[in-house]
């Protein structure tokens, strides 16, 4: 490193060595004042300075080349091209080339500028004075006096009726803004209380449609230990309001050996051990999708609320506050699983108006 650095150019030889310590008169902790400036190598060695200059310029040149590379990549590389780059794996060639060239182009400008500042620009530390933020007493008194004059001229303090009605009008006028927000959406009414299953009646039951096959299901289609997802008959993924409907209607079906079902009410709502629970978690509404067949526990992967499907979907762990609602199911004359009514409580997260 120092082979091109002649000894006589070292700071010691320049006679600018070290601190000029103030003699401490009794106080060893007194502020000795700003230390003397220490020259850098580039300050005293012209060859080092020239080398630094070349380094800075080199970085700017690399940046120029990288920008040319960016434009060339944009034009030349097919967006669909995938390449293998160790250790990243298979990546989009265009994304990689654009990102690396842009990164180099920008980084080298920055590195060049910082290197320039650190090696060649002056590094003399300069003290600057601070002034208190607070105004002095004279200014303060003057401003307060001027304000008093202004306030007196407005008569704001004297004419109390004007003042009070002004405050009143200013307090009320933002209400217009709040009222204008009313048409953002409809009123809640009883929307959260019902799902698409409300269309089902004893006379005209709704079939349960398997979400995977889009077919109605027979009892024997649901095997013990499996979890099946279902939606009401008549709902299609192409419906305009499908998202809104499925957000409430989604069902999960499990089949548990009837003697393993601990909750009798729950068993009666099911059909030969097939139980239909809302898929929407009662915590904040994520869909429940993890099922452990040995224990009949269902777990919401979002916040880990765990429900025991064999015991009326009681909450056994996690932040949910109440069991999953269960849909009463039976079979129609053709043997297809059907619902004859809505859930008897609202599905999804609880809310103020929800009766408990």
């Amino acid at each position: 490193m120092s082979h091109d650095m002649s000894e006589e150019k070292l700071p010691e030889s320049h006679g600018s060595a070290g601190h000029h310590e103030v003699a401490a008169h009794g106080d060893p902790f007194a502020d000795p004042g700003l230390p003397a400036h220490q020259p850098r190598r580039t300050d005293i060695d012209e060859r080092a300075a020239q080398r630094a200059e070349r380094q800075v310029s080199l970085m700017f040149v690399v940046s120029m080349l990288a920008t040319v590379g960016f434009i060339a990549s944009y034009v030349a590389i097919d967006p669909d091209k995938i390449v293998y780059i160790f250790p990243l794996g298979h990546v989009s060639a265009l994304n990689f080339a654009l990102g690396m060239t842009l990164g180099v182009a920008l980084f080298c400008i920055g590195a060049g500028a910082v290197h320039w500042a650190r090696t060649l620009m002056s590094d003399h530390e300069i003290p600057a004075e601070r002034h208190p933020i607070e105004a002095d007493d004279e200014v303060r008194a003057d401003v307060i006096e001027q304000f008093r004059t202004g306030a007196a001229e407005s008569g704001f303090g004297r004419r109390k009726m004007i003042r009070n009605t002004l405050i009143g009008s200013m307090a009320l006028v933002p209400l217009s803004g709040v009222v204008l927000l009313r048409d953002l959406g409809p009123l809640p009414e009883d929307k959260l209380e019902h799902t698409g299953w409300r269309e089902a009646t004893d006379v005209k039951p709704l079939q349960l449609i398997n979400m995977n096959t889009n077919q109605p299901m027979k009892a024997e289609d649901v095997i013990v230990g499996s979890l099946t997802f279902a939606m009401p008959e008549g709902l299609s993924t192409h419906d305009e309001d499908f998202q809104q409907q499925i957000a409430k209607d989604a069902l999960m079906l499990v089949r548990i050996a009837p003697e393993d079902i601990k909750d009798t009410e729950s068993r009666e709502k099911g059909f030969e051990g097939i139980l239909a629970y809302s898929k929407i978690c009662t915590h904040v509404g994520c869909p429940i999708s993890l099922y452990e067949q040995q224990t009949h526990h269902a777990l919401c992967p979002c916040h880990q609320s765990t429900f025991d499907l064999a015991d009326g979907a009681r909450v056994i762990f996690g932040p949910a506050g109440h069991p999953l609602p269960q849909l009463k199911i039976t079979t129609d004359e053709k043997g297809f699983l059907v619902a004859t009514g809505d859930f008897d409580e609202p599905v999804g997260p609880s809310y103020w108006e929800r009766a408990r």
Binding site: F29, D31, G110, S350
Partner: protein, 553 residues
């Protein structure tokens, strides 16, 4: 066209302008601008403005630069993104999604990733810069907190910075909700559940925000306006105010020789800081671009479009929302029935603690100045060890944040560390209360230990590693006196007096018991500055006695 009215040629300067003739065209242009904008007066104060140098001042710069990067890339993305929930069938170049119904928002995000050349890169830069932005704000805020830089006159700027952090977090949330992919939809569903938990008005806010029932068709266009217009607009205003105040207050500086409360020592804006800070922008931008080329973030094509009845495992928010996710995951599911209504404490309590965790840090400057009664301006920074209680409070806050982050990522911790998710949740429930307290105690003791070491160094000097054998055979290590600059640096911090209550009896001997508020203040002040919270500074006498060299070493 008509007769020219200008008759004088080569006339003398018009009356009124006494300015010297500009030396070149640049000066001429500057003169012209000065006549209209007053730039000379503006530049006089700022061109050679002094900036003190410390690496930690870069943290704020990173915040500023990533904000600029986010705006630049964000504008580009709006040119291609369609903030609409209208349904389309995907028919682009990404085969796995072909034929699947999805919203225009999701389809256009996939298109930006695969059809628009460079679109993927800009998306990645936007997201990476957003992550770095929030992280840098948090770390910048820690720097300001632990060094006491928030003290008078900078309390208001602390609050501005806090608001920027909160708005940044929320804008991040709205941003990753926009592509309408499976993960973002799950985040919005969580928000719906949280809103529904608000007593009395929850269902109304939900209906108005979503334009009906979840998810409806309005949420993406509405979030888009909030994400690109409302929040960034407010942030831009706050940012400008933040920077104006930084300029006005001037930077803080560390204690050291020649540095006082009345000066600021450093190098001038032009040229050193223009080059350093300007160059640093390109360093940050360049690095983020390179990271975006290498590391994939938010691969929405892998998640698929949002469907309310589907979810992927390890559904996670971005890390800066992790602590709120932790709160919601570990809170027990308490619901209270009240006269036919439901109070959903299991969601509402976390929803209320969330702002409290944030606001606790926002109001800290005001609490500290009230406890200490310190109304002076401060420009010299505290070393964190010299303010043990503040440092310990900050560390306790960070530990709470981290504990909740563990709660928010409990599924990942469970799968990666092979732990039971239930155990992690129980740990977080206890840790929420216990870990900050333990962290407080440990940090305070650590600070006091460091103070003791400083005192030792001041009085006995630095260990030289030279072993000396005394005539009677004892070995000692030779200690070298510190230079005066270091002695000054290690002893220049203040140790303010504890706030004492006025005497219990007045001059007539009548008992005058202090009110609850002064008594609280005195107690807190003892906690801050009392005997257990600081090691007395070495005095000149102590130093003199030891260095006078009679049997001491």
């Amino acid at each position: 066209m008509s007769s020219a009215s200008s008759t004088t040629s080569g006339a003398a300067k018009p009356a009124g302008s006494t300015r010297a003739k500009p030396a070149n065209k640049w000066e001429q242009a500057a003169d012209w601008t000065d006549g209209r904008l007053g730039i000379y007066s503006l530049a006089k104060a700022n061109l050679r403005k002094i900036f003190p140098d410390h690496w930690s001042f870069m943290l704020g710069e990173i915040c500023l630069y990533t904000f600029v990067i986010i705006i630049l890339t964000g504008v580009y993305l709006t040119l291609f993104f369609k903030p609409s929930m209208g349904e389309v069938i995907y028919d682009g170049s990404y085969i796995p999604l072909k034929g699947i119904p999805m919203s225009e928002a999701y389809a256009s995000t996939v298109d930006i990733s695969f059809e628009v050349r460079g679109g993927l890169l800009v998306r990645q830069i936007h997201h990476w810069a957003a992550l770095v932005f929030v992280a840098a704000m948090l770390v910048h805020m820690m720097r300001v907190f632990f060094t006491g830089a928030f003290r008078k006159p900078r309390e208001i700027n602390w609050v501005f910075g806090f608001l920027l952090l909160v708005l940044g977090m929320f804008d991040g949330f709205f941003g990753y909700s926009l592509p309408d992919d499976l993960l973002s939809g799950t985040g919005i569903r969580f928000m719906e559940g949280a809103i529904l938990a608000v007593p009395l008005v929850g269902t109304y806010i939900q209906m108005f925000l979503f334009g009906g029932e979840f998810p409806g068709h309005d949420i993406v266009p509405r979030f888009f306006t909030i994400h690109v217009l409302l929040i960034p607009g407010i942030m831009l205003g706050l940012l400008v105010a933040h920077l104006i105040l930084v300029f006005y207050h001037k930077h803080t500086q560390w204690a050291g020789p020649g540095k006082t409360e009345k000066n600021v020592v450093g190098m001038p804006l032009m040229p050193v800081y223009m080059a350093k800070a300007g160059g640093f922008f390109f360093l940050v931008f360049g690095l983020i671009a390179a990271v975006s080329a290498i590391a994939t973030i938010n691969p929405i094509w892998a998640y698929g479009p949002y469907r309310p009845d589907q979810v992927s495992t390890d559904a996670q928010p971005d890390w800066y929302m992790g602590f709120s996710e932790g709160l919601i995951r570990v809170m027990p599911g308490w619901e209270i029935g009240l006269w036919g209504h439901t109070l959903n404490l299991g969601v509402f309590v976390p929803l209320m603690i969330f702002p409290l965790v944030l606001v606790a840090i926002a109001v800290y400057p005001f609490i500290e100045s009230w406890v200490t009664g310190d109304k002076r301006e401060h420009h010299i920074l505290d070393r964190p060890r010299n303010a043990p209680v503040r440092t310990a409070l900050g560390a306790a806050w960070i530990s709470l944040y981290l504990v909740l982050l563990v709660g928010g990522g409990n599924d990942l911790f469970a799968t990666h560390l092979h732990l039971s998710i239930n155990d992690i949740t129980y740990f977080v429930r206890v840790g929420f209360f216990v870990v900050p307290v333990l962290t407080f105690i440990a940090t305070k003791r650590w600070c006091l230990g460091l103070q003791r070491r400083d005192k030792e160094k001041v009085l006995h000097g630095r260990e030289t590693g030279v072993i000396k054998r005394l005539p009677h055979g004892e070995f000692i290590e030779v200690h070298a006196q510190l230079p005066q600059a270091d002695l000054h640096k290690l002893t220049s911090h203040e140790q303010p007096p504890v706030f004492e209550l006025p005497a219990e009896t007045d001059e007539n001997g009548v008992a005058a018991k202090a009110g609850l508020i002064p008594r609280t203040r005195a107690k807190l002040s003892r906690g801050f500055y009392g005997e257990g919270s600081r090691i007395p500074k070495p005095t000149a006498e102590e130093h003199h006695e030891i260095t006078s060299g009679h049997g001491h070493h």
